[in-house]
Every structure is written in structure tokens, then in C-alpha cells.
């Protein structure tokens, strides 16, 4: 292979940073706790680098932990000097030439056709080669392949009669090192075939009116007003066709029409009737929604459950808590940034040790108060909260 600096540089899709200068390639895989530092590092390096200085800089940052992983290739004709640490590898003509998985590795690498520097910890679904050719500069990506220009085509589907549950090109591991024509794999399943088993359906309950002159029931009638008494309960453990919310029992008071309320409510949350003359006997009942949060882009989430908020919050192991993925193009949000936790009748904000912190706006002092990590802070209706550069307002539906 001739001068690597003149070769096409095909970007691999994924999180992370790929930088290319004359004489050097740098790939930094994504690591939420260090992404910002990595971005600042690459931005600070500028448009020209000196190979020895760059190598020293990367090495010292890896040693003191400011960088958790990196792949550096100082390019020369037909190959170069590679330095890898962490989940990064250098692949020459399809063979792994250098891997940082076991620790810092440094060696000369040569390739006849293609040389790849890439993150080696990608999920299958996330990998793939982009149609973008990076010649110089910085781009988001999980790796880069230097070599001949490649054309990206789509896997050709079989012409055979469709089968349910059939995966197009699910076999054959996708390759990082693009051959001349790269297959971008996809999964497809047909929906309009009759023999796909579907869970037996159960009709939605029909709303039944509670007679207006009925005496106030002893038990909270919230469930009755939505579900007719005959309607069978959703079997436990079944993922219902409708998002079956898990009820949390709390103590509250009943309005004169029998709606269950926050003990502090002055007016019924459901019907608006005054609660002033209601005897404040606490009774157990399913907690109604505590309000909603409205993000700066207008997206709105109901507080009928707790949320883990972040860029990639992942799954939660608690039926009362849902992951809430918030887009953040500036990556100021951590993967799991903060939690909105419902406790009895209050909404708490907990910073989950985020990189950029969580803040509550203090309108009197006109500044943002940062909250301590891992400590629950009660939110007051109307509070504005900042997570990274994203903000939301908490709004209650309790009428105080």
C-alpha cells in the first residue's frame, strides 16, 4: 500500500472520536465519563500535529488516567507505528495486528491493502461502515479504515418466499475492514403474515359512570372509574398491549365525591371540588400522577413513575422506574445523569454522579444551585432543573 496519508479514510459508525492529520490517525472510543475531556484534547491539538509530541501527549494522558482508551497510528508508507490502549485495535488486511485490550501495546504495523484503527467493544447492532471519507480533520465515529475508496451497498435480500422471523443477512459477521463492496446488514421481519403467534387479546375496559348521587365509597374508586368491575385484571408479569402502570399505594384523603388526593390538596385533583371541609382521615390508595415535566424542547413526561434520565440510561431493574432518553447533541448529559424519584407525594431529584452536574434554578438569587451527587432533593412545583445543557420544568397537578 502506498502513502497512507493519501488513502481514503472510511469512517466507521459509532460513538467516539476519529481524528486524522497528515502523519497521524487518532481514535478515541466513547467513554461517558471522559468524552468531554477527549473532545477538548482533540480540539486543542489543532490542524497540524507533530508525531513525537502527539505520541507523548497521548501516552501521558493514558498513564495518568485522563484518557481511558485510545488508538494512535503514526502513518508512514505501507504502514506505521501503532500505539493502542483499552478497547481499541489496529487491523491490517483483516487481521488484528495490535490490540490494547490487555494493556498498552506499541508496534510497527504494515498492510498491503487496508489498515483500520477502531474501537473493539462495539455491539453488533451498532457497527457498520459509513459512506464518509475522512481525509483530514475530526469526526464522530468508532474507527477509520485507510485504503482504497469503497462503495457501500445494501445487502441483497433473498428472492425466496418470505418466512416469518427471518433475518436478512443476519448470518455472516459484518466485517470492519471493508472489502471493495461492503454489506450493511439489516434485520427485517414481515408483519403481514398470518401465522405469527400473537398474545391472546383482551378487550379494553369500557368506562362506567359512577352515579353522581352515590354515597362516597369507602375504598378509593379511582380504579372503578376507569375499569368496569367485571373487567379481568391484567395477568401479572404479562406485558400488556397497553402500558400497564404498576400502582404504588400511598396514604391520602378523599374528596366529597370520593376521589383520592394528596393530604395537602386544597382542591380535588380529579374534580376540582374544595377540600377545605373534608375530614382529613388518611386512607390508603393508589398514588395518582404527581404532575409532569416539560423539557426545553416541549417534550412532556407524566410523573406516574420514576425516571432515570440520561443520554443512554439503559434498562432499569425496577417496575416503577422507566429510562428516559434525552437527546443531547453537545454530549453535556451523562449516560445516566439524574433520577426523578417519586416518594410518597413528593418528587425528588437525585444526581447520579453526572460529569456536568444537576442544577436547580433559584429565582430569588437568580442563579443555578448545583445539587450534591447521590443526594435526594425535593422538587417544588415550578422548579426549573438543568441537566447538562438541557432543562426542564416540574409542574404539579395537585391543587394547593
Amino acid at each position: 500500500m502506498n502513502d497512507l496519508d493519501l488513502a481514503a479514510g472510511v469512517l466507521h459508525r459509532g460513538l467516539g472520536i476519529v481524528a486524522r492529520w497528515p502523519g497521524a490517525i487518532l481514535v478515541i472510543p466513547s467513554d461517558p465519563a471522559h468524552d468531554q475531556e477527549a473532545e477538548q484534547l482533540v480540539a486543542g491539538l489543532g490542524s497540524e500535529v507533530q508525531a513525537n509530541e502527539l505520541s507523548f501527549e497521548i501516552r501521558s494522558r493514558l498513564e495518568d488516567g485522563r484518557l481511558r482508551a485510545a488508538g494512535l497510528l503514526l502513518t508512514a508508507t505501507g504502514g506505521g507505528l501503532g500505539l493502542v490502549f483499552g478497547p481499541v485495535e489496529i487491523v491490517a488486511d483483516g487481521e488484528t495486528a495490535l490490540s490494547g485490550a490487555a494493556g498498552l501495546a506499541e508496534a510497527s504495523v504494515t498492510a498491503a491493502e487496508r489498515l483500520t484503527v477502531r474501537a473493539s467493544n462495539l455491539k453488533k447492532a451498532a457497527e457498520g461502515v459509513s459512506p464518509f471519507d475522512l481525509r483530514r480533520g475530526v469526526a464522530p465515529g468508532a474507527g477509520i479504515t485507510l485504503g482504497q475508496p469503497v462503495s457501500v451497498i445494501v445487502a441483497s435480500p433473498p428472492v425466496a418466499p418470505p418466512r416469518p422471523d427471518h433475518r436478512v443477512s443476519a448470518e455472516g459477521p459484518p466485517t470492519y475492514d471493508p472489502p471493495i463492496e461492503v454489506e450493511v446488514p439489516f434485520i427485517a421481519e414481515l408483519l403481514h403474515v398470518a401465522d405469527v403467534p400473537v398474545q391472546p387479546a383482551m378487550a379494553l375496559p369500557i368506562a362506567s359512570a359512577v352515579p353522581a348521587d352515590a354515597p362516597p365509597p369507602v375504598a378509593p374508586p379511582v380504579a372503578q372509574s376507569i375499569q368496569s368491575p367485571q373487567a379481568p385484571e391484567q395477568p401479572a408479569g404479562q406485558t400488556g398491549p397497553v402500558d400497564a402502570d404498576v400502582e404504588v399505594m400511598v396514604h391520602g384523603i378523599m374528596c366529597s365525591r370520593g376521589h383520592f388526593n394528596n393530604p395537602l390538596a386544597q382542591f380535588c385533583q380529579t374534580c376540582g371540588i374544595s377540600m377545605v371541609h373534608v375530614t382529613h382521615n388518611l386512607v390508603p390508595g393508589p398514588r395518582p400522577t404527581l404532575g409532569f415535566v416539560v423539557f426545553d424542547d416541549g417534550s412532556t413526561f407524566g410523573l406516574n413513575r420514576s425516571y432515570i434520565i440520561g443520554r443512554e440510561p439503559g434498562e432499569t431493574d425496577d417496575a416503577h422506574t422507566a429510562p428516559l432518553t434525552i437527546q443531547d447533541n453537545n454530549e453535556t448529559l451523562s449516560r445516566r445523569h439524574a433520577e426523578l424519584r417519586l416518594v410518597e407525594w413528593t418528587v425528588q431529584l437525585i444526581d447520579l454522579g453526572s460529569t456536568n452536574g444537576s442544577f436547580i434554578w433559584d429565582p430569588a438569587m437568580e442563579h443555578w444551585n448545583q445539587i450534591a451527587p447521590q443526594q435526594a432533593v425535593n422538587l417544588t412545583p415550578g422548579d426549573t432543573v438543568a441537566l447538562g445543557r438541557r432543562t426542564f420544568v416540574f409542574e404539579s397537578v395537585t391543587r394547593l
Binding site: I187, L191, H192, V198, I206, A207, A209, G240, D243, F292
Partner: protein, 273 residues
């Protein structure tokens, strides 16, 4: 984008807060007669788990054998992009009709959509996204577009973004207060849809349009205002679907459909054809 999976895109049909809708050439693999299909791509950093959720969700929808539901063909994941495909409607939707409709045919279309919603309800599915843009016109009948996806991708989300402020009228107030989607919330959406397509006006004419928070506060404290352009018998049907108390709305979408069909028949008799 030129395409996704083995779909070749012909042109962009629309863009929303969740992704884009494309007209595409039908791959042979689908085994259907139509040359063109609609492809919805979801702007979402999707995983295989998301794909499986979406697939299971759409399968429950397609298992409902209603001729008034938009047929779906295929669901897939390429890289981190989800897509699914369905029938293409050259005549457009009630929000963007490709040709003018008489009042009787608009009423008939809403009745068709309500019948489709009823089929979903009987199968245990609340649609959650009924609005004029989701009532698709197919010659002389209408079909109801696919079910709301936001609950699949982001559970708990009631509204998707600022571009949706106009859409809050289709959201039953009790949804904001945390009630689960139900027959009654879909019937509200059908009532608001009928009001919109008959009058061209929203049911909250004075809703603040610059702040989602203000719009939600407004909606929680105000009742809908029915436009004068509604005839008296239409006001009764729309008004009952928009009752504050879910129990005061028609008990099923089928009953709503019957009432709207009756209105349509009255017009069909009155209008010259």
C-alpha cells in the same frame, strides 16, 4: 437518505418529531401487489431491544383484522435506525387531502377511523395517536394509520415536542393527569379530529402557542370551545366525545362511529352528488 434496508426511496413524504416518512419502491421480498410503499424511519438511537419492542407492538396491531386499519408489511433495524413499512395512500390524509372532500365524505372517513379504533380496543390496544393526519384516504373509504409509537420508544411520554403544541387538542386532559390511555382517551381524540376536519379550527382557539408548559396549563384549566361552524347535530356528537368525565363520552368508539355515520347519511341525502 437514498434508502434503508432493501427499500429504494423515491421521495420524502413528511417529517415529524420521531423521524421521516418516505415513499419507496416495494421489494419483491414483501410479496405484495403494490409497486410503492410508505417507509417510516425512526430517528432514534435504536438497539435490538428497541427493534424487538417495536416488532411486538406492531404485530399486535397487525393481528387486529380490521379492514379499516392501514396494513403494515415489514419492520426492521439497520445499524441504529429503525424502520417499518405500510400501505401508501395516494389520496393523502384528512390533514392533507390530495383532493377536495365533501362534508359527507369527511364524516364517513372519521366514522371509518372510529370503527378501526374500536377494532383495536376490542383487541386491548389503545391507539393513542388519532388525529386528522392519521386518517388516510383510500378511494371512497378511509383507514386509520398505525398506532402511536412514542409509548414504545419512550414510555411515559405524553407529548413529543414543541412542534406538537397544535396536537395537544387530540390529547384527553386525563392523560396529562396520568391516566392510562383507554377507549375514552381515543374517543376524545376522535371528537377533536371530527371538530378539526369539519371546522378547520382547533377546540382550544386561545391556547398559548409558544410554550408547551403554558399550553398544558391552559388545557388543564379550560374546556374546549366548539366552533360555530358546527351544525347543531354535529355539536352534540362532538361535544359528547369531548366530555370532561370519560364516563360521559360514548362508551365505545363504535357508538361514536354510528353517530357520525348517521350525520354522514343526513348530508349524503341533503347534498347533490
Amino acid at each position: 437518505m437514498d434508502g434503508i434496508a432493501d427499500y429504494e426511496f423515491l421521495h420524502l413524504l413528511g417529517e415529524g418529531s420521531h423521524g421521516s416518512v418516505w415513499l419507496a419502491r416495494t421489494p419483491d421480498r414483501l410479496g405484495i401487489g403494490a409497486d410503492q410503499v410508505t417507509v417510516k424511519t425512526l430517528a432514534h438511537n435504536a438497539s435490538e431491544t428497541d427493534f424487538e419492542h417495536l416488532r411486538d407492538h406492531l404485530r399486535r396491531y397487525t393481528a387486529v383484522a380490521s379492514p379499516r386499519l392501514v396494513p403494515l408489511y415489514d419492520v426492521g433495524l439497520q445499524g441504529t435506525a429503525l424502520y417499518y413499512t405500510g400501505e401508501y395512500f395516494a389520496d393523502g390524509s384528512l390533514a392533507q387531502p390530495a383532493r377536495p372532500f365533501t362534508r359527507a365524505s369527511v364524516l364517513a372517513a372519521v366514522a371509518d377511523a372510529a370503527t378501526a379504533a374500536h377494532g383495536l380496543h376490542e383487541a386491548g390496544i389503545a391507539h393513542q395517536a388519532i388525529k386528522p393526519g392519521n386518517v388516510l384516504i383510500d378511494g371512497t373509504t378511509a383507514k386509520l394509520g398505525d398506532v402511536g409509537l412514542q409509548q414504545v420508544l419512550t414510555p411515559g411520554q405524553t407529548i413529543t415536542g414543541l412542534d406538537q403544541i397544535g396536537a395537544i387538542e387530540f390529547l384527553a386532559p386525563e392523560l396529562i393527569q396520568g391516566e392510562a390511555p383507554s377507549r375514552a382517551t381515543d374517543i376524545w381524540a376522535l371528537g377533536a379530529t371530527l371538530h378539526r376536519v369539519l371546522t378547520g379550527r382547533p377546540i382550544y382557539p386561545n391556547v398559548p402557542d409558544d410554550s408547551q408548559l403554558e399550553a398544558l396549563r391552559y388545557m388543564l384549566s379550560e374546556r374546549p370551545t366548539l366552533n360555530d361552524a358546527l351544525r347543531e347535530d354535529e355539536q352534540v356528537v362532538v361535544g359528547s366525545a369531548l366530555s370532561s368525565d370519560p364516563a360521559d363520552r360514548p362508551p365505545t368508539a363504535l357508538e361514536f362511529a354510528k353517530a357520525v355515520t348517521e350525520l354522514a347519511h343526513r348530508y349524503a341525502q341533503a347534498e347533490p352528488t
